[in-house]
Each structure stands twice: as C-alpha cells, then as structure tokens.
Amino acid sequence: QQQVRQSPQSLTVWEGETAILNCSYENSAFDYSPWYQQFPGEGPALLISILSVSNKKEDGRFTIFFNKREKKLSLHIADSQPGDSATYFCAASPTGGNNKLTFGQGTVLSVIP
C-alpha cells in the first residue's frame, strides 16, 4: 500500500524567499502525483501535478522536482507571497489506480510579509 510522507510539518519563510516542501513515498508503482493547496474552511484545490515519467514540472512560481531513484518529490514555491500561506498536501496515485489518491499529512506554510 502506498505511504506518503511530508516534511516539514510546518514551514515559515519571508516574503520573496523560496519555500521548499518535501514528500516521499514508499511504493514504486506511482503514476501521478498531484499537490493540493488548502486554505482554512476550504477543500483542497489542485496546485500542480507531475507524472512519474517526468522529473520536473513547472507552472509559474511553482515547480515540482521528482527523484525517482530516491522516491522523493519536492515542491518549490519561488518568490513566496503572504497569499501562499496555506496547507500543502502531496498525494500519489498508483498506476492504473482509478485515481485513488494517497495523501501525506501536509505542510503548513506561513509566509511573513
């Protein structure tokens, strides 16, 4: 069964810095990894995702780096803004897995102006 772990549990950065959020998984048969952003009182919203055939995915200020050999991913948020303060969840979906997502416990990001 897929296990997804995130670190750190919480992260504080200054506005303009790059925030780095980490994720690792234990099952090699993962096909798709979405990252979700969640604000208090809201449901998770897809931020960016990557397929296992890629080692990098970029979308504006958000970049996922994927090290398949080490089974690790990281989300880099460049030029962090106070509006980026939220909880970020890494998830993984197994190959042919009917979009069944296994989530990490999340990283709470705080961006200080």
Binding site: V4, P34, G43, L46, N98, K100, L101
Partner: protein
C-alpha cells in the same frame, strides 16, 4: 472553476443514528470519491464510484457505510448506524477521467457523533 458542493457543512448526530452526507459533483464528471480526514491527520481514501457502482473501497469503508447516486442526483454517503469514531471531516470529490486526471474536492462536511 468547477465546484463540488457538499451539504451540510456541519452535522452533529447522536451515536447510533443514521446520517446521510450529500454531494453535488461537477456536472460532467463521471467518477466520484469520498475521503475522510480526522482532525490533525491526512485525508484518507474511502471509496470511489463510477457508472453506478463502487469500484474500490478501503478498509475504512466499514459495512455501516454505503454510497449511491440515484438518477444522477446527489452522490451520497450514508452511515448507519454511526459510531463515535466516525467523527471526522468527509470530503467528496469528482473527476472526469478515472486515472491521472484532476480530482476536484468539495469543502467537506464536518460530522460530529456524540
């Protein structure tokens, strides 16, 4: 963007009673999901549903749980009878495709069993 609506946002219910959580998925989506999140823990997959049938369910999807979407209306999660450990936030989600496609989540229903 597309919205998944969940009704109600909060529900308090006596242990042993039945509860139905309602979800209005994105209109053209074909795949539906329920996830459970206990306070301070990660969201965990309960069940997914396609073409009127459960495709896969997790160990958390106890015998007291059932899902249905009668005649394309609400996608519902019913718990009968409820137990104290069912207290959690339940997130409904939907997607157009069944693999590697964006899954849209609702805001969740906070269920408190007392």
């Amino acid at each position: 963007g597309p919205k998944v609506l969940q009704i109600p946002s909060h529900q308090i219910i006596d242990m042993g009673q039945m509860v139905t959580l309602n979800c209005d998925p994105v209109s053209n989506h074909l795949y539906f999901y329920w996830y459970k999140q206990i306070l301070g823990q990660q969201m965990e997959f309960l069940v997914n549903f396609y073409n009127g049938k459960v495709m896969e369910k997790s160990k958390l999807f106890k015998d007291q749980f059932s899902v249905e979407r009668p005649d394309g209306s609400y996608f519902t999660l019913k718990i009968q009878p409820t137990a104290l450990e069912d207290s959690a936030v339940y997130f409904c989600a939907s997607s157009f495709g069944g693999a590697d496609t964006e899954v849209f989540f609702g805001k969740g229903t906070r269920l408190t069993v007392v």
